[in-house]
């Protein structure tokens, strides 16, 4: 059992190494980000404790994946399996529990630790057999996959857009439009298997343009209802809305280039920082986009030629 946890620790460190971060630094950074975000959440909303519990439980529930649990059960004896599951759920729950205690929410802290232990006895099957239809079947796979993964977030974005019109809050409407593009960017955040690039019989340049054209077409399909709705109710802000839409496209294209600039690996921390800086300060994109484009061509040429 002890070796299992040593192995988990090694896996975590390997992931940090792959991200280009020294494990020791990664643990400290992770802790700082966790505490910072927790402070921010409790500072921002009065419902923070409940949101916090939801985030904690959804994180812990990832360990209840059926396939993973069946592997553990097949590998270890029943009693060791139960101890492992109980211990790993508790380890994951402790940072949340400690912060709740710090905030004086001892009842919720107790509830969280009890739920974490109870969840160690549950197995979830997150592989749904129900196929969610999408309008993106002609050009798979990013948006097809993305809509199926994050359909509820898209619904939320449309709901926020609807509310923006109802309460005549333009900024809220802009937020809903931005979130559709952010979700689009999320679909390009992880690299696909090398095989799915290798199968293309075209140049690296053409491959990138195909990917970008598909992304623009499908993100337009998702953003258009919001853009049209908001334009109809805020006609005097049409130029701003079109500006947001254009920046949305620009950010989406930057994300695609950033992904393939590290392909087939994941984006390294310096690349992610460069992307973040470009998004925070758009004039920087004039440097970031050509840089990512050149690197992407180089990376893709190695696979496509």
């Amino acid at each position: 059992m002890q070796y299992y946890f040593v192995l988990q620790y090694r896996i975590l460190n390997r992931r940090l190494n792959e991200l280009g971060v020294r494990p020791f630094l990664g643990h400290i950074l992770g802790l700082l980000v966790f505490v910072g975000l927790s402070y921010y959440l409790f500072y921002k909303t009065s419902y923070a404790a409940y949101l916090y519990i939801t985030i904690a439980l959804s994180t812990i529930s990832k360990l209840s994946d059926r396939e993973r649990n069946e592997f553990l059960l097949a590998t270890f004896s029943s009693s060791v399996y139960r101890r492992i599951r109980c211990l790993e759920n508790s380890i994951l729950a402790w940072p949340f529990v400690l912060f709740l205690l710090y905030e004086g929410q001892w009842r919720l802290a107790l509830l969280l630790i009890l739920c974490a232990v109870a969840l160690s006895r549950v197995k979830f099957d997150d592989r749904l057999n129900v196929t969610l239809p999408t309008p993106f079947y002609r050009f798979p796979f990013e948006f097809t996959q993305g809509l199926r993964k994050y359909w509820f977030l898209y619904l939320l974005a449309y709901f926020v857009g609807f509310k923006a019109v109802e309460v005549a809050n333009f900024n809220l409407g802009v937020g809903s439009l931005v979130s559709v593009f952010l979700l689009g960017m999320l679909h390009y955040s992880t690299p696909e298997h090398e095989y799915f690039v290798w199968i293309y019989s075209c140049s690296a340049r053409k491959f990138l343009f195909k990917k970008m054209a598909t992304a623009m077409f499908y993100s337009s399909m998702l953003a258009l209802p919001l853009l049209l709705g908001l334009s109809a109710y805020f006609p005097d802000k049409l130029l701003i809305l079109l500006g947001v839409q254009c920046f949305g496209y620009l950010f989406l294209l930057t994300m695609i280039l950033a992904k393939y600039s590290a392909f087939p690996g994941e984006m390294s921390l310096p690349q992610a920082i460069l992307l973040g800086l470009g998004l925070l300060f758009p004039p920087l994109l004039a440097v970031v986009i050509p840089l990512f484009y050149t690197r992407s061509i180089k990376r893709l040429n190695a696979i496509l030629q």
Binding site: R127, Y200, I303
Partner: protein, 226 residues
Amino acid sequence: MIEIENLSKSYGQKQVLKNVNLSLSSGKVYGIVGENGAGKTTLFKCLAGLETGTGSISSGYPILKNQLGFLPTNPYFMPKITGSEYLQLLCNARNVKMTNFQAKNIFELPLDQYAETYSTGMKKKLALTGILLQNNDFFILDEPFNGVDIQSNIIITAIVQELVALHKTIVISSHIFSTLNDTCDEIHLLRDGAFVKRVEKADFQELDAEMKRFVLGDRIERLGLR
């Protein structure tokens, strides 16, 4: 014609392929046999351009991989993508215009279901259908018969024979000798990263017997089963 000359590949200190030479003609089926770790998959990846080694691989095509259908031992599938979307992706990648896959679904796969929920055999059949729809000229089938039911094995054998009739070049690896016997024109034995034997169809049974002798040796006696 595809010519592999002096192909070598190393991972760190370990040399996986050692000066491999092979000529592949169109309209022929080549079997590659060897123990696990002999270098079969590395050879296929080098042929596909997914790995780079030293030596040369030449063909009449400007870029060989654009005419190549590669069926890996364990085909890759993305989560939340249906069987028909997988086929669409493979067709789009080779500019093959096709949208209705039901007519081509000869393995009767549930194309509207997520491919990740398929069984091992169904995944292999979907991946094979995909590379067949791409209209490739050259095929590498890495253990196409593994995990597939007997009925589908019969279909796959018939597909290979049809591809030969269409003058395609096929390289197959299999651990089931009878499947190679049914499909191959010649078999190459790979041992420790080097080809040690080339056998034509007339001598397949002799090769089978020799492999059994070499592999078994006195291993079973050493076990001392009682």
